[in-house]
Symmetry: C2
Subunit: 317 residues, 2 copies
DNA sequence: TATAATAGTGACAACCTCTGTCATTATTAC
DNA sequence: GTAATAATGACAGAGGTTGTCACTATTATA
C-alpha cells in the first residue's frame, strides 16, 4: 500500500478507535512501529489532534476534536446542511455545549468555491425562523443528559398558578414555537406531563435517592401514548369563514380536520380531549366573527360565560 | 513538499476551482505536468469525481458532487449539525432539490464511532419541532431562484378575500410556524407585501417583460423597512394575569414589552401600527379574562364591537 | 484542412523518500 | 526493579517519485 493511502486509512482508523498503541497499528497495517510513529507525527502536522501517554496502559488517543474524513457532498446537500445549521442561531439556548457557529464557519470555510458562492447568494434569501425569545434557558443540557442516562431531576417549576417543587424523569426535550419543552414522568402526579423549560426555575440531579423508572422505551415519538387512559373526547363543530379557516390552519397546534369549500370557507369537525375545552373557548373567541361554534353545548356555554364576563369588564351590560 | 501533502492540497484546490488544466496546476505546485497527471489519477481512485475534456478550451472539471475535505469537528459541533439537519424532516417542502436525508446519512456514516454513539443516545431525545403541515408547496425553488436572480414572477394568489393574479419580485423565503412565507415587491400594490407560499396557487417567471427593479440591497433582514412610510403607531396598554403574561410571550410574533411582577402577572405597554388594531382586538378577546385592555380607546371600542356581535350571535342579548 | 491546445500513456534513469533495524532515552504503572 | 510504552537518531537499502521525452488521440478554430 502506498504511503498516501496508508495515511488516509490511518486517519480513519484512529478516528474509529478510542485508544490504541503504536504496536497495534503496526500489526494492522503490516509495517514497522517506526513507520507508524512517523505516520502519526505526520497526521499530527496535518491537524489530527493526537495525544499520547507513555508507560503501561499508555498509548495514543485522539482528543475530542475529531477529523471528519473526506465526504462527497452534492451542492444541494451541503447547502441544506448549512442552512439547517444556520437556523440554530435563532435559539438563544441549545442543549449542546459547543456553539454551532464554530462548526458552521469551518464547514463554510472548507466548502468548494461554487458551493460557497451558492450559499452567499442565498444567505439573506432563505431562513428557517424560530420565534426569537429573550429568555435564556440554562437547564437544557442537564435535562437532556437526564433523559439519555435515565436520571431523576428535581426541579422548581413555575406553573400557571404557582411555583412548586417536584421530581421528574425527563423523556427528552424539544423546541417548538420558540420555546423548549420537556416531557417527563412526574413523580408528584405519577404520570407523564409536559414542562416548559423556561418555567423551570432550577434543576439538579436528584440526591434523595428516588429510584429511576425504566422508561428507556419511552421517547419523544411515543410518550404521549403513556398514561393517558383517562382521556375523554368531545366533538367540536364550528362554521368558519375563509379567514377563519386560514387562522385555524395556522394557529391550532394539531392539524385540524376542516372541510374547505370552493369559496374558502369551511366547517371544522374534530374530536378533542374534554379537558381542553377552556382553551378552545378562548381560541374561538379570538377568532371573533370568523367562527361560529355550533357544538358541543359545553363549549358554547363556556364561550357565553366568557362573553358575559368580558362584557361586564368592558362595561357593556 | 511531500507527495501526501501535495495530494491533500490538490484535493482542496481542484474543489475550489471550477475548471482547470494540467498545466495550470503544474505551475501552481511547481511540479511537472506528468506528475500532476499521476496525482489526478490517484485522486480519481480516491473517489474525487474528476472529468476531463481534450482539445482547446478543454481541461479538467470536478463534477457536481464535491469532496468535502477533512474537517476537524468537535463532538458537540457535529451533533449540533446533525440535529439541525435532522429537523428538516419536519418540512414537507424545501427549496433545495436534494433530499437532505441523503446528506445526513453520509454525515452520520462517516462520523467517528463515539460521535455516532452520542447521536444514537440522543436521537429520540432532542428535536427541533416545526408545525407539521400536510400541504405541499411546489413553488419554493422558483421563488428562491427569483429572489437570488432578481427576477419577476407572476403568481395566482388566494388572499383572505379572493384569488387574484399579480406580478411580484421576491425578496426571499422563510419558514415560520410551519408555513413558508415570501416577502416580495408587489407590482400591483407598488410596495412590499408578505405572501404565504401555500396560498400561491401557481407561479412562473414573468414572460410579459416587466422590468425587474434593483432590489439587491433588500433582503430578509431589512425588507420590512422599505415602503412602510405611512405607518402610524398607537400605544397599547393592558393589564395581564400570570397566564396572560405567558400567553402574550408565547403567541405574539414580536417579543412584547411586558413589565412582569413578582407574582407573575404583568403590564403590557407597547407601540404597534394602527392598522394592526383589529388583529389585537381579536387577540385580547382570545385571552378572555386574562387580559384587561386599558387603551387606546379605539382598541377598547373594537373589542366592545366584537363583543356585542358575538353576544348577539350566541344569543346573549 | 492544417494547427494548436489539450488529455493520456509508456519508458527510463536519476533521485529522493520511505522503511526497517538497531540503539538509546524517558516515563510510568505495578 | 521490571515491563510496557512513547520518542528520537542514524543508516543502508528498497522502492517509490519525478522529470523528460516520445508518442497518440481528440477537438475547436482559423
Amino acid at each position: 500500500m502506498s504511503k498516501s493511502k496508508r495515511l488516509m486509512e490511518l486517519m480513519m482508523t484512529v478516528n474509529r478507535m478510542r485508544k490504541f498503541t503504536v504496536k497495534e497499528l503496526a500489526a494492522e497495517f503490516n509495517v514497522s512501529s517506526r513507520t507508524i510513529l512517523r505516520d502519526l507525527q505526520e497526521l499530527s502536522e496535518l491537524g489530527v489532534p493526537l495525544y499520547s501517554e507513555v508507560g503501561p496502559h499508555g498509548g495514543y488517543q485522539v482528543l475530542k476534536e475529531r477529523i471528519l474524513p473526506p465526504i462527497a457532498f452534492g451542492v444541494d446537500e451541503a447547502v441544506a446542511m448549512f442552512f439547517a445549521s444556520h437556523a440554530l442561531r435563532h435559539y438563544l439556548s441549545l442543549p449542546f455545549e459547543a456553539e454551532s457557529s464554530s462548526a458552521l464557519q469551518k464547514f463554510y470555510f472548507y466548502m468548494p468555491g461554487d458551493v460557497r458562492d451558492r450559499i452567499d447568494e442565498m444567505k439573506n434569501r432563505v431562513d428557517f425562523h424560530a420565534h426569537d425569545r429573550r429568555q435564556k434557558v440554562d437547564c437544557l443540557g442537564l435535562l437532556l443528559e437526564a433523559a439519555v442516562r435515565q436520571r431523576v431531576v428535581t426541579i422548581r417549576y413555575g406553573s400557571k398558578q404557582e411555583d412548586s417543587e417536584r421530581s421528574i424523569q425527563p423523556v427528552g426535550i424539544y423546541a417548538s414555537n420558540g420555546f423548549w419543552y420537556c416531557p417527563a414522568y412526574c413523580f408528584l402526579r405519577r404520570g407523564f406531563r409536559l414542562f416548559r423549560c423556561d418555567r423551570i426555575r432550577s434543576a439538579a440531579f436528584d440526591e434523595t435517592g428516588i429510584e429511576p423508572l425504566d422508561h428507556r422505551h419511552v421517547h419523544l415519538g411515543n410518550w404521549e401514548e403513556f398514561g393517558r387512559e383517562e382521556r375523554i373526547d368531545v366533538r367540536i363543530v364550528a362554521e368558519l369563514s375563509r379567514e377563519g379557516v386560514q387562522r385555524c390552519q395556522g394557529e391550532l397546534s394539531h392539524v385540524p380536520f376542516i372541510a374547505v369549500r370552493e369559496d374558502g370557507s369551511g366547517r371544522l369537525d374534530q374530536r378533542v380531549p374534554e379537558s381542553e375545552l377552556p382553551y378552545f373557548a378562548k381560541f374561538f373567541l379570538g377568532l371573533g366573527g370568523e367562527a361560529t361554534v355550533e357544538g358541543p353545548e359545553e363549549l358554547v356555554a363556556l364561550i357565553r360565560k366568557l362573553l358575559s364576563e368580558l362584557s361586564a369588564k368592558y362595561g357593556l351590560m
